[in-house]
């Protein structure tokens, strides 16, 4: 698969996790592609940590709601509020996150491990972008789903134990990559779906943690 195809493939599979009316927070990058693949009849309440509960489509220059100085997203891009949505202050907004009012957050990872630990905010000595709202989302969202390419330049990103400083511990419920879907269980990683382009051995070779294969392993394409 080409790089752009990989991202679309993962986003498409992520969209299957969602049902109509879910309150969802989407991380920067790949997760923002998910709404494009929602099944018909599924509408989400997109929660944006900058202060929009129910964010709308990205306005284009010339649109009546194009307002780059007053309505933006957490990446600094122009944003909008959806019909029926509203604006909110940060303290109340993060109360909603920690309080379990967000059904799911989708975010990328530098590393994720078999205990559901996630590292995605700092590479000591190299990059220090900060955690922004990621720690709150990982702890507070009912479902924390990591969506990412299975490896980085051929190196594993899924480990038995994360090596980088954690964003949060025991928070990830599911990992969706272009190779497979992994559920984080008490006994470690359980592969429930696989992309038929790969074998179980391919997945195991690309993963630095033990994987149990579900008895009823399904195709990601079904």
């Amino acid at each position: 698969m080409e790089k752009s195809e990989i991202k679309a493939f993962i986003a498409k599979r992520c969209a299957k996790e969602l049902k109509d009316g879910d309150v969802v927070n989407l991380g920067i990058g790949l997760p923002t592609m998910i709404p494009a693949y929602l099944p018909e009849g599924v509408e989400l309440i997109i929660h944006a940590e900058l202060g929009i509960v129910s964010a709308g489509a990205t306005p284009k220059e010339g649109d009546a709601n194009y307002d780059p100085y007053h309505v933006i997203d957490a990446g600094g891009g122009v944003a909008s509020v959806a019909y029926g949505g509203g604006f909110i202050d940060s303290a109340t907004n993060f109360g909603l996150i920690r309080g379990g009012h967000v059904d799911a957050c989708f975010l990328g990872a530098l590393e994720v491990d078999a205990q559901g630990n996630l590292a995605n905010w700092i590479i000591p000595g190299k990059r220090m972008p900060g955690m922004g709202g990621a720690m709150d989302l990982c702890v507070g969202a009912r479902n924390c789903i990591v969506c990412m390419e299975h490896t980085a330049k051929g190196n594993p990103k899924i480990f038995e134990k994360c090596r980088l400083p954690l964003t949060a511990s025991h928070c990830v419920n599911k990992i969706i990559t272009e190779m497979c879907v992994l559920e984080v269980t008490d006994k470690g990683l359980l592969m429930t779906e696989i992309n038929p382009e790969f074998t179980v051995d391919d997945v195991k070779a690309a993963t630095a943690a033990p994987i149990t294969v579900a008895e009823n392993l399904k195709s990601m394409l079904d």
């Binding site: 957490a74 303290a91 993060f94 220090m128 955690m131 709202g133 949060a168």
Partner: protein, 230 residues
């Protein structure tokens, strides 16, 4: 009720002494007192501590060079920041590596809540966010507590000498209304500083903001500045 004094951005900036701790509302400079910040840059006031979600942006929406408090960083006027995300201002990382800037990163929800606590008379915040992470070693974290079997970090309240709010409409009594995503950290910061300056795009007559729609109450605001209209 007394109307609040209206200052120019330059007059407001002159009130802020060297070494002051400033709570800066705004998220990537949306909802930030950018006119006052520009004057602070001109004055060159040094050794500031900035408390803000982020250090704004090196480039604004229309290509503005240094947008919001990013210019204070660029100008080496800041000795310490408490923030959540600095990925859009690489100079923060550079100055931190050079040892000229102390950077305390804390989670976004914890920043909001610590400032809220600072303005609400609370002695701290117990949050599950940050447990098992580097936040446990943050100077803003006072320790860990277990309540009903669940672990929480005790985070210190945050207050400032000054709060700079970036509002849209401000009436003559200091009541503020924020447009779109400008509200972010402004509403809590308005409660947590000794001197609160509200920069707005429009000063409006009292009554224009409906009582139900006042986001920051004039009782919290000490001075009003009319900034740039966007």
């Amino acid at each position: 009720m007394a109307k609040k004094p209206v200052l120019t951005a330059a007059e407001a900036a002159k009130m802020i002494p060297e070494g002051a701790t400033i709570l800066c509302g705004g998220f990537l400079a949306c909802g930030q007192a950018r006119a006052i910040v520009k004057e602070l840059v001109k004055l060159g006031t040094k050794n500031l501590t900035l408390v803000a979600n982020d250090m704004a942006r090196e480039t604004g929406p229309m290509g503005e060079k240094y947008f919001g408090i990013a210019e204070l960083i660029h100008n080496h006027q800041v000795k310490r920041i408490i923030a959540t995300h600095v990925g859009m201002t690489p100079e923060v990382g550079q100055q931190s590596a050079e040892g000229t800037l102390e950077v305390n990163l804390i989670p976004q929800g914890s920043l909001a809540e610590c400032v809220r606590a600072g303005g609400a008379g609370l002695g701290g915040v117990l949050t599950p966010v940050g447990v098992d992470t580097l936040i446990e070693q943050s100077p803003l974290c006072l320790g860990k507590q277990t309540i009903d079997g669940k672990e929480y970090l005790l985070m210190k309240p945050i207050r400032g000498d000054f709060a700079l709010l970036g509002t849209y409409k401000c009436d003559e009594y200091g009541n503020c209304w924020y447009k779109g995503t400008m509200r972010n950290f402004n509403t809590v910061m308005a409660t947590a500083a000794d001197t609160v300056i509200a920069e707005c795009e429009y000063i409006v007559p009292v009554g224009e903001i409906e009582p139900e729609n006042i986001h920051t109450y004039g009782m919290c605001v000490d001075y009003i500045v009319e900034g740039e209209r966007k």
